[in-house]
Symmetry: C2
Subunit: 256 residues, 2 copies
Amino acid sequence: MAKIIALCNQKGGVGKTTTAINLAASLSVSEKKTLLVDCDPQANTTSGLGIDKSTINTNIYNLILGDGDPSQAVIKTGLSYLDLIPSTNNLVGAEVELVGLDEREFKLKKALSSLSANYEYILIDSPPSLGLLTLNGLVAAESVLIPVQCEYYALEGLSELLKTIDLVRSSLNPTLSVAGILLTMFDARNNLARQVEEELRKHFKETVFQTVIPRNVRLSEAPSHGKPVLLYDVKSRGAQSYLELTKEFLERMERV
Amino acid sequence: MAKIIALCNQKGGVGKTTTAINLAASLSVSEKKTLLVDCDPQANTTSGLGIDKSTINTNIYNLILGDGDPSQAVIKTGLSYLDLIPSTNNLVGAEVELVGLDEREFKLKKALSSLSANYEYILIDSPPSLGLLTLNGLVAAESVLIPVQCEYYALEGLSELLKTIDLVRSSLNPTLSVAGILLTMFDARNNLARQVEEELRKHFKETVFQTVIPRNVRLSEAPSHGKPVLLYDVKSRGAQSYLELTKEFLERMERV
Ligand SMILES: Nc1ncnc2c1ncn2[C@@H]1O[C@H](COP(=O)(O)OP(=O)(O)OP(=O)(O)O)[C@@H](O)[C@H]1O
Ligand SMILES: Nc1ncnc2c1ncn2[C@@H]1O[C@H](COP(=O)(O)OP(=O)(O)OP(=O)(O)O)[C@@H](O)[C@H]1O
Ligand SMILES: [Mg+2]
Ligand SMILES: [Mg+2]
């Protein structure tokens, strides 16, 4: 059975999608069969992997709100051990359409259950909100990876996110744990970034990954080429930091 | 009657809140009576101005979903011509609670109508989504200011946002216009940023503000001191660029 991890943070632009794509790509080059699920109406994970949204038949919307066949939604990427369930812009209506449905928070979990046996890891990218799409990710997952930018607003939002995770654990998904807090876009020359890191490590101790993702322009260029940074520029600090993260991530996951 | 402007972009972390706070602060030092409305459950505009959320009685949630008195929700800030309607984390439930209500997209417009005569400008900060809170902002406003980070995903999301603005104009708010597209976190040393700027100016011509907001660490430090950058470090490039933006913004607004 696959280990399912949701990438969550309601603060926008903290590196959820960048981490989802590059962690998944690094897992796949370590020959761990991985499925990436794009659960954001922005569909950035889908376009970041170079997939043309107009060529897609079945997508995450059909799985969550319709009765699409999950195996039909899975598509190949440029990496042999990495598959994707793409998103589409019409997922933006899902938050409203889900409201009146029974078991509205369990739709994604049900959709992924028939696929779980085919993968070792399933990563879910979420939108920047604490709405029903993010809740579907938190219910489907066994653990949450929280990317945090080293800035004031990102730090401030963390307590709200952790409260939501506690709520989900107590009512909808009793085994939900925190896989780790990941510092992203880190600029060592910046006082604020160092203060935020110090504060997070003091408060959350070893929950915070040792690996820190530096601000690196190659990470923001890679999506415009439709590739994970590993395939765009493997020698870059961005690619190297995600390879390092993957080692640490696997140690944590395989320890459990 | 006040000119009402919504700050919108469903892409996360592009500078909506930073622009809302610093444009409003610059307007207030030009002695334009300004009201800032925080319509995001993250309540970053509220904390970025140093307001302690626990001391607030009436907030945006009471106005949109209850029958709170708008004049009771308005609070003072550190600047004499700037008032704020604060947000709170329980606004996160609003997206779900609004779904079944009549005229659900008009709640904010109605709430602001009794305040409009007291101000020259009202700025509305929105969450990173195209849900009912953002729609309330687009219906209440006469124009939209779109902050765009010079990155691939932010550029990609612009067409979805413009489609949504067209939809709102055709069905809910016939006079909605685009006040301008603002380039934020611009780093001139970065090829991608220059390419995105070129693409945007070619495509959207004079809709794009001449003023470009540079990446400047003083802008990300200011919120941790609860102040707009004008009060935190007025000589910084960040503060100077927002003062320059305000001049250009007023020229556009007063021309109409
Ligand atoms: N370490 C990094 N260095 C430089 N740029 C980065 C880095 N990580 C992400 N970026 C860029 O910063 C922007 C925000 O990252 P990303 O889109 O991954 O965040 P997100 O949390 O998924 O955003 P959203 O909340 O909109 O879903 C993107 O343009 C991305 O390319
Ligand atoms: N020009 C700038 N230079 C440096 N840092 C900036 C700049 N503008 C914004 N920031 C910082 O970048 C982060 C994102 O900005 P901000 O929170 O204003 O974006 P937002 O669009 O409101 O995000 P969200 O989508 O979560 O509401 C914040 O930590 C902010 O302090
Ligand atoms: Mg994303
Ligand atoms: Mg914001």
